[in-house]
Symmetry: C2
Subunit: 367 residues, 2 copies
């Protein structure tokens, strides 16, 4: 198994709930698609092209300030479990988990990680620079990824067209190559049934939404990824400004919806969030989907101070560590538990018990 | 409001879970139907007849050893809330809660209570002698009610026919006038789907089953009242023997079903009972029916030692005190809570919190 402790912060610094609006916005992610000029796109290139891309990025990375304290994983060296682990930690895409293994000829795919930034190599594009931060932090995330872009772009000749901007394997990414997305928790809008209207509004202003795991993934637990649809014809600053403005509006709608619920149905609301807590605290078997939905309830309750003593950090950690590959890697297996429902429930109970004990300790007067 | 603390043990001594098989059999109830000779049955008699019955029982009761430390409630004096309170405590029948009030001309109905025994007067029959005990305790309950029968029968001339035995308002009660019923908790047979077969078997051997509140009441929370169907043509001893034998068989089936569940689906079972506990511990609104069903789960978990530290006494107490009239009488009203869902959930949480604290205290090493 790969040693994720080698990854700076375990690749999890965005979990700490320290960012702006962290009670509603879990994280901000920005990625820039870049390709090396005069080499075939990764989707069409041969092994040689891929190897050249990897070599170029490797050299540029090592020579940049990013190289120090960073880590590199070659996908060809990783088995399925390790790949899923990286994917569940939002460090590599779903596509890379399915890249041909070394036995199948290899993909030359890799991921370089440094703090909250990283580069995927030989994914759909030659390079996908990305950064992931806690809360709603578009400018900060962009500043980081821009530094990365500058550092690598100085050494790797990026394919750039004066009219179309950065060229990408899929034309929908051309131009800025920028996709900024915000993972946002909208239980209030779901409960007040206003979510459909809000999502429809998003598509009308050029944004799109997805589930927790990006394109094609289902929405569970009331977690939505909002991101820009267009990448071409606008500057990076304009795209980020626009997304930021809309996200702040959605956050305001969500806060309104929560206040409406608190005012009009306080018991129903309290009952809902506490039942979710009670089930997480005591269930002996949980599917990942149910866990997500229950965590959504508890997150709402914690955000409204209905449930005291449960931190955003713990809730975020539960989201990550109750995923199948994380359970397989870190929890002792339970016999006769193929879906890891028992292991998942056990992990959830342990974390919530510890949190409750800490919270009880904190409430106790100092002696 | 009536003062139930005047009732010996609050009429709740059967709650303590001290009787035989108390983990599966909640209580044993025996009632004897008796009528005063030469007076019209209560269902047809006028106010004068009813008054004479009441006077006769009153005098006989006071002169018997039962009179000391006993209490008497005249239904004509009680409002609906008080009547429901007595009914929820299983001290008077559903019918008596609806007897004409003093304003409507009165019914002359009354209940006399002493320890775990009592007499309803001017219900369907002139007298219904009854006793209620913890667990499966048919001989003990019968011994008690027989004493009562002897004490009152010495002073009140009971209608008795040499061929038909005791005469009753409804012919289905004639003969012994005895109805013995056992309140039994059968979640194992329900979960293994064997319950239909068992209940069908009961009717084939002359027994019948009902819900928690007797005739016509629905089965909720997997609580069944099993009782004898026939009252005529067999002696009291035969009727009780037969019922006891069958109940012990049903208890054995239930225990088998629980072992099967433990063996074949331990996680599903543990998950089910702990989820019930988690919901009771944290819900902010509960209907009575849901409470019953969740208590059924916790009772099963406690009976199998899956859930430690929850006593049968507390579970029985929750069954009684979460009923509407009990909540209205003993819990402070919550604004905007017409169905008492919040008050019910609050009461359940308080009792389970106290029980958990006691249990934690007991586990702590003495210092």
């Amino acid at each position: 198994m790969i040693d994720l402790s080698l990854v700076p912060d375990g690749g999890l610094s965005w979990l700490d709930g320290s960012g702006p609006q962290a009670h509603i916005v879990l994280s901000t992610r920005i990625r820039l698609a870049r390709n090396v000029e005069r080499l075939a796109f990764a989707t069409r290139g041969g092994a040689e092209d891929r190897a050249r891309v990897l070599g170029l990025v490797d050299a540029a990375w090592r020579d940049s300030p990013l190289g120090k304290g960073s880590v590199r994983f070659l996908l060809d060296d990783l088995d399925g479990a390790d790949r899923l682990l990286l994917h569940e930690r939002h460090l590599i895409s779903r596509e890379l988990t399915e890249a041909p293994s070394a036995r199948e000829g290899g993909s030359g795919a890799a991921v370089f990680l440094s703090g909250s930034t990283g580069v995927m190599v030989n994914e759909e594009d030659h390079l996908r620079l990305q950064t992931l931060r806690s809360g709603l932090a578009l400018p900060q995330a962009y500043a980081e990824v821009e530094q990365l872009d500058a550092a690598l772009g100085g050494a790797v000749p990026f394919a750039f067209h004066p009219e179309f901007g950065y060229l990408t394997a899929c034309p929908t990414n051309a131009g800025t190559g920028l996709r900024a997305s915000v993972l946002i928790h909208l239980p209030g809008l779901v409960l007040t049934k206003e979510i459909a209207k809000v999502l429809q509004g998003l598509t009308q202003v050029g944004l799109t939404f997805r589930g927790l795991y990006g394109e094609g993934s289902e929405v569970v637990g009331n977690f939505f990824q909002l991101s820009n649809q267009t990448t071409l014809g606008k500057s990076e600053a304009e795209l980020l400004d626009h997304l930021g403005k809309i996200v702040r509006q959605v956050v305001a709608y969500e806060e309104q919806a929560r206040q409406v619920l608190l005012r009009d149905a306080p018991t129903v609301l309290a009952d809902k969030v506490w039942r979710a807590y009670g089930l997480l605290r005591y269930a002996r078997s949980l599917t990942f989907e149910e866990t997500m939905n229950l965590l959504s309830g508890v997150r709402l309750g914690a955000g409204l101070n209905l449930i005291p003593g449960v931190s955003v950090y713990t809730l975020n950690k539960l989201l990550i560590f109750t995923q199948p590959a994380h359970l397989a890697a870190f929890e002792p297996p339970v016999p006769g538990d193929p879906e890891a429902g028992s292991a998942r429930a056990g992990y959830v109970r342990r974390l919530l018990d510890e949190e409750a004990a800490r919270s009880a300790q904190a409430r106790r007067p100092a002696s």
